[in-house]
């Protein structure tokens, strides 16, 4: 299972860390209900931060606040100015009545160079759907196209909201190993949201466990041993993951 875990140059690759994204004291309330309560979030250059939590924990809301798509009820968000962000939304349903192929969709980033568009699509392993209609893509293909689109912006920070949703297990594993490879090659930071810990665990530097407030945070190893985490996800799941995290550390 750990073939997509990677040896860890990520700690040494970046000498000088700078804070790309910093959100502090974020609260969001919808009609008296606190979706987020006093949440802090920081992403430094070169690191992968994963936000995990059950359904309704406010994960997507947090990402939307971080990206400036949603104004928090209170709290501040600071994105480094001029930061290039690549974003994969949780849901993307191409309007059925809008005829457009993948090439043109990629071109909407403003990148005109056809060869660069094609190359980027090949980089995410989807070169052959370059001329396909956007509406004809499967979930996995669409995900890759969106990733290619994010990469065309040459991002310093990739933000992925439940990137593996609606893709089968094999596809998920492939996607995360692809993500891991891209991250090493390009050296961008990643902020990722997931409710499935198994897959993202190996490729994560820091985990933030969210359930409307921050339950606990730290390295994957530390989080899986945290009582708050065990309470949220259940003894068994936590034990499996702890074992998994342990296994990852001992890989050579």
């Amino acid at each position: 299972m750990s073939h997509y875990a990677m040896d860890s140059p990520r700690m040494t690759a970046v000498d000088e860390k700078k804070i790309l994204l910093s959100a502090s004291g974020i609260s969001v309330a919808y009609q008296q209900r606190n979706v987020l309560h006093q949440v802090d979030l920081q992403v430094e250059s070169g690191e992968v931060v994963t936000v995990i939590g059950p359904n309704g924990a406010g994960k997507t809301t947090l990402v939307r606040v971080a990206l400036g798509l949603l104004k928090p009820t209170s709290g501040t968000v600071h994105l480094e100015s001029g930061l290039r962000v690549g974003y994969l939304p949780q849901r993307f349903a191409a309007e059925q009545t809008l005829p457009i192929d993948v090439a043109r969709f990629l071109g909407l980033t403003g990148v005109r160079d056809e060869r660069r568009l094609q190359r980027t699509l090949e980089e995410v392993g989807a070169g052959r759907i370059y001329r396909s209609s956007l509406q004809a893509l499967s979930g996995g293909e669409l995900q890759r196209v969106l990733l290619a689109r994010a990469l065309l912006r040459d991002p310093e920070l990739l933000v992925l909201d439940e990137p593996a949703q609606g893709v089968d297990l094999h596809g998920q594993i492939e996607f995360f190993s692809l993500l891991e490879r891209l991250r090493t090659e390009r050296g961008c930071s990643v902020l990722m949201v997931s409710h499935d810990l198994h897959l993202v665990m190996a490729a994560t530097d820091r985990v933030i466990c969210l359930n409307n407030h921050v339950c606990c945070k730290g390295t994957p190893e530390a989080v899986t041993r945290n009582p708050a985490f065990i309470e949220l996800f259940g003894e068994e799941a936590a034990a499996t993951l702890a074992l998994y995290a342990h296994d990852r550390r001992h890989r050579h």
């Binding site: 974003y87 191409a94 309007e95 005829p99 457009i100 004809a136």
Partner: protein, 264 residues
């Protein structure tokens, strides 16, 4: 063999069909058919305003449509009521208000049918200038926001993260739509204006592979509908506006029955 008024109607109608097409595809993609209807229904208030202030009626209609477009734009950002509910309320109350206000002008005889269903055969040279001027300006503005508007139509969040000024682009689009509705009212009337946006665009969808091809094809459908509608109207003495809309509808049905070209 044709009289002048018929030539003017033909030129005006064809111009409008061409200008309306690229807007029509966005109306279809962004699901703004009801929005366009609401704009059109408020146009009668503009007519009343024109009489009241003794200004050019088209100008009055443009002003009111612009106002309503801005109101709707900001209204729709509140999410307390469903969009179509808000539009339904505004659409019919503004139409009623227009009718009631017009009824107060006892001294003015208004051709109400002309405003409701269009009076394309009465298009004068001034109208042609309005159509041509407004049309060229609208098309130029639309061209300048084409790419961001396409992206917004596909995914608004993505557009925002990529630095598109989403609200400004959307507001620009609905204002252009308002100007166009005001100008188009002359041709098919406020009841039928939306059909000139959506029927050609919907007819073109099946045969287009790119957004621009769909707009171009919609323009072609619109032009054929205008020519066929006017010819039918001339030949059988049917009302011109509805004849144009019917011609477009016939083409839509024909396209629907035709087998699809290629895949996707």
């Amino acid at each position: 063999m044709f009289e002048d008024f018929f030539v003017r109607a033909l030129v005006g109608g064809v111009l409008i069909a061409i200008v309306a097409a690229p807007f029509g595809v966005f109306v279809v993609w962004r699901r703004l058919a009801y929005f366009g209807d609401t704009l059109a229904h408020s146009a009668l208030l503009g007519v009343a305003l024109g009489y009241l202030l003794h200004i050019n009626l088209t100008l009055g209609v443009i002003l009111v449509c612009l106002l309503v477009a801005c109101l709707l734009h900001f209204f729709q950002r509140q999410k307390t009521l469903a969009g179509d509910t808000v539009l339904g309320i505004l659409s019919h109350s503004s139409l009623s208000l227009g009718l009631v206000v017009l009824a107060f002008f006892e001294t003015v005889r208004i051709d109400l049918m002309g405003y409701l269903f269009g009076d394309i055969l009465a298009i004068g040279m001034t109208d042609l200038f309005w159509i041509a001027g407004g049309g060229v300006m609208s098309l130029a503005m639309l061209a300048s926001i084409w790419r961001p508007l396409l992206l917004i139509s596909l995914n608004e969040d993505l557009a925002r993260v990529e630095g598109v000024r989403v609200d400004a682009v959307k507001l620009t689009f609905v204002c252009l739509l308002a100007v166009l509705v005001a100008v188009m009212m002359k041709v098919v009337g406020l009841v039928l204006v939306t059909s000139l946006f959506i029927i050609p665009a919907a007819t073109a969808r099946k045969f287009a592979r790119t957004p621009e091809a769909m707009a171009a094809l919609a323009a072609l459908v619109g032009v054929v509908a205008v020519v066929a509608g006017l010819a039918g109207s001339y030949r059988w003495d049917t009302p011109a506006g509805p004849s144009i809309v019917l011609a477009a509808a016939v083409m839509f049905v024909a396209a629907f029955l035709l087998p699809e070209r290629g895949s996707g």
